[in-house]
Amino acid sequence: MPDLIPLLSQILNGLLAGSYYLMIALGLSMIFSLGGIVNLAHGAFYAIGAYLAVTLADRIGFGGALIVSPLIVALIGMVVERFLLRRFYNADPILGLLLTFGLAMVTEQTLRILYGAAPVPFSIPPELRGQVFLGDFVYSRYRLITLGITAVAVLGLWILLTKTAFGKVVRAGVQNPDMVGALGISLKPYMTAVVMIGVGLAALAGVLIAPIAGVHPAMGQEIITFAFVVVVIGGLGSFWGVVAAAAIVGMTRGVAAHFYPAATEASVYLLMVLVLLTRPRGLFGERIQKFE
């Protein structure tokens, strides 16, 4: 069935492409679930991650940047959480929205002032270039490597959230913050850690995308809307819901590109509408008491 091969390769490619949304969406979902903050600045951390990769790669190589850039962004996230986000956990959600909206714009303009509006040159390191042949499916070696890194990061996060004492408190804090407080556990340090992990993951996605897409100040806002859609489709509070949604969103784009390319981006929003109509909490969304 030769006609099916192009479609299958689109579906497979879409699955892989979804991994970029996934790393952004997981952080968004965690920060919203625990802190109740809709972090519109999440894309900004992704952009900072990419720019740091460009700056650092000359000095410590791409491999070094892959580790150092997310760490630096996590530290920035710690400062932002401690001095800005923390003031808004109990406030009207619209204030948190305005704060992060403002942060996103300030970051974008700062990048523009520092680096200019034009894309900053950056390429795949020569040793990671090339193609991998899997039967009829030829694929970029670099993208398979990034998929592997994403898988490790996502699995690590899942283990952290489900198998450790840290994760237990975070999950309890999502469902019942008052009870956690009554047990004498302060959620503040946990929230700081969650923000650091969330924005660090976004930065990691930024580093990974930098060699294959334009590194420019608006790159954050290009991806943030999709990441939101992934969270909404996957459902709040569901780790694997977000993972599944990222894969489904990627596949939907691939199928749309195959049959009706002009609707490649629109197809994702259509999917969101369909999911919301049939499952208002998203595909695997949990009933979280404080959000009902």
Binding site: N90, D92, F101, A118, P119, I224, F228, V229, A257
Partner: protein, 417 residues
């Protein structure tokens, strides 16, 4: 941590609309008021997928204004440049109107998006104010949508296609060959696809397929898979803005080797793709390696003021401000219609190239030399900017400048009274 009752999961869904709005906010106008100055407006996208080019445009206009004022202004009066941005056609129209009515500008320059230029054209025609389009390529702006108060220093799509088309024909990539295209999904791309199809069909090319690409698409992989499947003889790009950077990087990433040709291009987007990612043959209105005294002075001046290399978008905004200043001096008038008539009589202007240019009276398109640039092999690249070789000027010295412009059959303009 008790939660406010108004927070709900619906907040998240509403917030995704907010996320989408991030890209649509514009910046306020920057103006340095001066009494009795001649005011000229400059409007161009500063954010979004055309933002990288808008930055060059605004910087070049500021450089030109500085040079004009340093040389004594226009007829002894200071030139005051008012900069504004146009993130979308609605704002372009509203801001053009505000510049004309509130700031009383005598001319408006700029724009890159063909959709926004169309909106601006209606405002300037109504207000009888001169507008020089410095970056919008659609033939329709010089044809079915032409306006008497709108002039174009930016080349039209037909000129881009014919300029690079000569190189493609020379390289045997047109006649009897299959070409596959990717097209930016807005006014510019649709217009360019039509022009490209007409040119390729007339020269014996066979269209293997086209995909419309959303303007903010970052991931080209679905389309690269389709190209690999289609096995064309040449891949032709009708893309714009950061799309071009993303395409170049991922085309190299996927290891595709079909020859690449562009029908629209901006050098900064190739510079931004990074080492080893630029390939193919592309048309430009100007590039920094042009060996004329004017171009060399412009490159030096721009680098001195902005500490970066100018590219083709900068050239258009720099030259058009100089052209307006010259025209006001020559006509001794700041009245829009006087300058329009002056242009229509075929006034000649220095464009930093070997030949002077003029606005063609019948459609207000600048008649000028263009260039086809071809990517250098990676081994021959010495620095970040000199990544291509250029053809000699197109048209050649012994040809009329009009041979690459659209003919009446291809694109007809009738100015309404």
């Amino acid at each position: 941590m008790p939660f406010d009752k108004s927070l709900s999961r619906r907040t998240l869904i509403k917030a995704s609309a907010g996320a989408a709005a991030l890209g649509t906010l514009g910046a306020p106008a920057i103006s340095y008021a001066q009494a009795d100055a001649i005011k000229i407006g400059h409007i161009t996208p500063r954010t979004g997928f055309l933002g990288p080019l808008g930055e060059y445009a605004a910087q070049a206009a500021q450089l030109a204004a500085e040079e004009i004022n340093a040389a004594g202004g226009i007829m002894g009066r200071k030139l005051e440049l008012i900069l504004d941005d146009s993130p979308n056609p609605q704002q372009a129209s509203a801001k053009a109107e505000r510049l004309v009515q509130r700031d009383k500008i005598v001319a408006l320059l700029g724009e890159i998006s063909s959709a926004s230029a169309l909106a601006i054209a209606q405002v300037v025609q109504r207000e009888k104010v001169l507008f020089i389009n410095t970056g919008a390529n659609s033939d329709a702006l010089r044809g079915s949508d032409c306006q008497r108060f709108m002039f174009h220093i930016e080349a039209q799509n037909s000129m881009y296609v014919k300029a690079v088309g000569r190189s493609l024909i020379r390289d045997g990539l047109v006649s009897g060959k299959r070409w596959y295209s990717l097209t930016a999904d807005y006014a510019f791309g649709h217009d360019l696809l039509n022009v490209a199809k007409r040119y390729m069909a007339a020269n014996g090319g066979n269209h293997a397929g086209d995909d419309l690409i959303p303007t903010d698409l970052a991931d080209f992989s679905p389309f690269l898979l389709k190209i690999r499947q289609a096995r064309p003889d040449v891949v032709c790009l009708n893309l714009a803005g950061t799309q071009i950077t993303n395409f170049l990087k991922q085309y190299a990433e996927f290891g595709l080797t079909f020859p690449v040709a562009g029908f629209g291009f901006d050098t900064a987007l190739a510079w931004g793709a990074g080492r080893g990612n630029f390939g193919g043959t592309w048309p430009v209105v100007w590039h920094h390696l042009i060996d004329t005294p004017g171009s060399k002075a412009f490159v030096t001046g721009f680098q001195k003021k902005w500490n970066r290399m100018p590219e083709n978008q900068a050239w258009g905004d720099y030259c058009s401000l100089k052209i307006v200043a010259q025209a006001i001096t020559e006509t001794k008038s700041t009245e829009g219609i006087k300058i329009v008539e002056h242009f229509e009589k075929g006034a000649k202007f220095d464009l930093l190239k070997t030949r002077e240019g003029y606005f063609r009276a019948k459609d207000h398109q600048m008649m000028m030399e263009m260039y086809a640039i071809t990517a250098l092999p990676a081994a021959q690249i010495r620095n970040q900017h000199d990544i291509f070789t250029s053809s000699p000027p197109v048209p050649a010295a012994n040809e009329s400048l009009e041979v690459i412009a659209a003919t009446d059959d291809e694109n007809k303009c009738t100015f309404r009274a």
